[in-house]
Symmetry: C2
Subunit: 218 residues, 2 copies
DNA sequence: ATCTTGAATTATGAATACAATTTGAAAAGA
DNA sequence: TCTTTTCAAATTGTATTCATAATTCAAGAT
């Protein structure tokens, strides 16, 4: 049992930030909807103070918009925002790929490889949810292997803003096939620890994703 | 006169975030110092609620550390953090350079060029403060010309975390000369709108800056 | 003298209270 | 009937209060 950690009880506002962010990302709190302070407080069993603190933080992250004297709304996912965010995510993932190739343990590489094979199997089986999960795990594992907390933090922030788009537009079958193909290249670069190649492929992957979203949403 | 904006009076917590962030970046609030809530409230003439909201936001940005039941401290600028942040800033600036080359107006390019010449003059005159200001303006102008709010937002966040390092270590004369030399290349890439070259040079510039900081701080 | 111990003080986290603003609908007027 | 005005209810921004955890410091023990 670990007795060195000083028994950290997370404060209410921290837990609220986490839970609200999750709710926003998974769509329980719909974009554009106003956040009913009193109601949420009652549901969650907290007072307004910590909830409002959490909303300020989420507003700073761009997930929530505060309109003075008019409360908070869940921010909309606009095409402009996606178009702005994706290139940023792309360079961040690119950096993560490079760092990961240099710093990952063999176990981490093996893990990413395994998860890729999982993912390909899910694709063959047409299991979208499982595919998405595996895909998510891969990108997360790459980010973890990069061992850069600042990078991870900003990546997480951007991901949360963008992941909601997945609820707006389903990926087309042809784009799905393309993405899988791209991931074969990514896998190869991971296996050979070819950082610059991985970086390039990841950036392309993200930019293609954005292009696909653009066509799907117009 | 702009009549479209709905006369936004910034809320107390927003102003506090801005002011505190500025105070932290410019060093009025020293790294490691604990933030005396009551005292600050009295000085600023606000109650604890908006101040605490602001602290939560700044904590989320990494400028402040909240220790449960022990209040807030100004976060320390550690070498680890700098080492993590600089590569991220580098890729962001790199992206900004590429976008700026593609999207900047001729006026913006001209502005950046002019500011470069200013900066070179300040270097010749040995005027460090003016040099720093010009340097800052250049990077800000590049970022503005990239026309990507998401990029700008994350760049601003990272800059605020890192700029405090400037107070810890003065740039050596030799590094200063190097930086100027690097900026000559950057200027050239800007003038010719060579995006990929500018991107590379900016990334190198940042990475060299980090290396210089590393030696200066050990 | 130095190190514990524990009550008093202080500061923090969260809840509540209060004042100002917005909202929505009914009433007055065109 | 439609517009405008007024006013109450609701909601928000900020201040204050309350309970609890941390810190301080003096007294006692080693």
């Amino acid at each position: 049992m670990n007795l060195s950690t000083p028994l950290a009880r997370p404060s209410l506002h921290e837990e609220l930030v986490t839970r609200l962010r999750q709710a926003i990302v998974e769509g329980s709190l719909e974009p554009g909807a106003k956040v009913p302070e009193r109601e949420l407080c009652e549901n969650l069993g907290v007072s307004r103070t910590p909830l409002r603190e959490a909303l300020k933080v989420l507003a700073n992250e761009g997930l929530v918009i505060l309109e003075s004297n008019r409360g908070a709304r869940i921010s909309n996912v606009t095409m402009e925002e996606l178009a702005a965010a994706f290139p940023v995510i792309a360079v961040l993932e690119g950096l993560a790929g490079e760092l990961a190739c240099a710093l990952a343990t063999d176990e981490e590489i093996a893990q990413i490889v395994t998860r890729h094979h999982d993912m390909f199997r899910y694709y063959d089986a047409g299991d979208r949810p499982a595919y998405f999960q595996a895909n998510h795990d891969i990108h997360a594992a790459l980010m973890a292997a990069a061992r850069n907390p600042v990078l991870a933090q900003h990546y997480a922030m951007l991901s949360s803003r963008v992941e909601r788009a997945r609820l707006l537009a389903n990926v087309s079958d042809s784009r799905w096939a393309e993405a899988v193909e791209e991931h074969r290249g990514i896998l190869e670069a991971v296996e050979t620890r070819d950082g610059s190649r991985l970086s390039t492929l990841l950036k392309e992957h993200l930019n293609n994703k954005l292009a696909a979203l653009k066509t799907a949403l117009t």
